[in-house]
Amino acid sequence: MLKVENVVKEFDGFRAVDELSFKIEKNTITGLIGPNGAGKTTTFNIIAGALNLDKGEVYLADQKVNDYPAYQIARLGLARTFQIPRALKKMTVIENLMLVPNGQSGENLFNSWFNRSRVKKEEAANYQKAYQTLEFLELTHLEDELAANLSGGQKKLLEMGRALMADPELILLDEPGAGVNPTLMNKIAENIIKLKERGKTILLIEHNMDLIMNICDKVIVMSDGRYLVEGTPAEIKSNPEVLKAYLGEKTA
């Protein structure tokens, strides 16, 4: 589903991602973990096309997507959420969701003037889909609220909702559980599992080890921009290299 090969990304000589390679199989949940500054979010940004890589290759379903701009990668079936939720503040919750689907004929200005009946029909279907997504996230009561007025946790859910609206094959979740309460955390975990049941592939960055242990099929560990090791959650938990990466080499 996703293949990353020897990817290098430098910022002013600092190697944020260093010869990174890994592969993700279809319909799995993979956790990407590592200490702060390991280059996880940078890797996400490269895969999603938000950053250009300096070297290496990224394949999405066997298609090389190195030089694709972010919006084209999104159209190939990749959706991502942001570490710090990016709600479209002056737009309502339902608008935040209805924005997402691609190929809406009303996205063409001339259609919005001269082909109004078709646009209207599509909008009705789009609304249904967005409303169902809100039901899935249990946010229907906030439908017409401006996104600026949501709580942090609700914004997290909205991020996930936007990713769902794209009907993606591969979903990148950047710390879906950061800063949310345990109840919401469980709900997010359930949602991720439901996504897998629907046939989606998920790659997530997360610091909450309980979440990683509970839902991931495979865990990839990064450290200092490099690929360190991968395995099942249980293997990773007891791997001495991983402990070293997290806790440092010098032990008192």
Binding site: P69, A74, R75, R86, K90, T92, S112, W113
Partner: protein
């Protein structure tokens, strides 16, 4: 002042306010909805005005012209030339951060003004183009100003309608999303560059048509008319006072701001002659104070952006 005198002044006032309202609708499309920082309205205005003047005039030895084009064509052509200018500016700047667009537009507006100042074969330089045709003057005779106001109102109605329809559609939703956070729009598969370009070009088209109406109404244009204060900044003030991203608010903002601008002119003209230069500066200060009051009390303008119904 007699009733009819007052009435004709009102018509005159509303026509000018209406032309400014067209500019403000154009700026609102660019700034209000798409978040584009265009501070070169003067340039689009000038291109529209000169296009209309050159196309509609009978031949003159002083400058390019003599095409005798009907006004409908000249209005469209003015919009199109202004739109082409926007397209050319947009190509290099819309991929960059918004301040680059701002710098480019203000720079290009000055360049355009200087071109019309120096290229005499085109525009007769600082002497300007005079006796620009006044459309339908023969038909309406003494009601000419009223008929011109009607024309301006028709143009406003068309642009208002197109603008509202566009902004309430999925197209407008993408625009507003880009304004709020372009990374989100990109991650949702939207071609940010394309939408920005469309908003810039659409807004510039309106400004070009507004410029053409200005040329026909005044009958005389020279580079002097396209200084930034009168043509760019006052439109921005209209947008800010009326309410960015609210087309109705922007129309009201145009009328109020133009009212203050011309009202103070009437008042300061009553001052003794030795204060005339100070008075001109004082008007700018008054507008500034008014802007401050609005910004402090209503940061989103008189009519803030409304919630859009899904």
């Amino acid at each position: 002042m007699t009733i009819s005198g007052l009435l004709s002044y009102l018509i005159f006032f509303l026509t000018f306010a209406g032309i400014y309202a067209i500019m403000a609708l154009g700026l609102n499309m660019q700034r209000g909805f798409a978040g584009l920082f265009n501070i070169g309205i003067a340039g689009f205005w000038a291109v529209g005005a000169y296009t209309a003047a050159i196309l509609t005039k009978s031949p003159s030895p002083n400058h390019l012209g003599g095409f005798n084009t009907p006004i409908i064509i000249s209005l469209l052509a003015a919009g199109i030339f202004s739109a082409i200018l926007a397209f050319l500016i947009g190509i290099p700047t819309l991929r960059l951060r918004e301040d680059y667009l701002g710098i480019s537009t203000i720079g290009i507006a000055e360049i355009i003004r200087l071109i019309f100042t120096n290229e005499a074969w085109l525009s007769y330089g600082v002497r300007g183009i005079s006796s620009i045709p006044k459309p339908f003057r023969d038909i309406f005779g003494q009601y000419y100003n009223l008929s011109f106001l009607a024309l301006v109102l028709i143009v406003i109605a068309i642009f208002y309608y197109l603008s509202e329809k566009g902004i309430k559609s999925p197209w407008g939703r993408v625009l507003r999303a880009i304004r709020e956070d372009e990374e989100v729009a990109k991650a949702s598969g939207k071609n940010v560059f394309r939408y920005r370009m469309e908003a810039l070009v659409f807004g510039a088209f309106m400004m070009g048509v507004g410029g053409a109406l200005y040329a026909h109404f005044t009958g005389f244009i020279s580079p002097e008319a396209f200084m930034p204060m009168q043509t760019t900044f006052i439109v921005w003030i209209m947008l800010i006072i009326g309410g960015s991203a609210n087309n109705f608010g922007v129309l009201i903002g145009a009328v109020i701001t133009w009212g203050i601008w011309t009202g103070t002119e009437t008042i300061t003209s009553m001052l003794p002659a030795q204060y005339v230069t100070q008075a001109a500066a004082f008007r700018v200060i008054l507008i500034g104070v008014f802007l401050e009051i609005i910004l402090l009390n209503m940061p989103d303008g008189l009519f803030p952006e409304r919630k859009f119904k899904a």
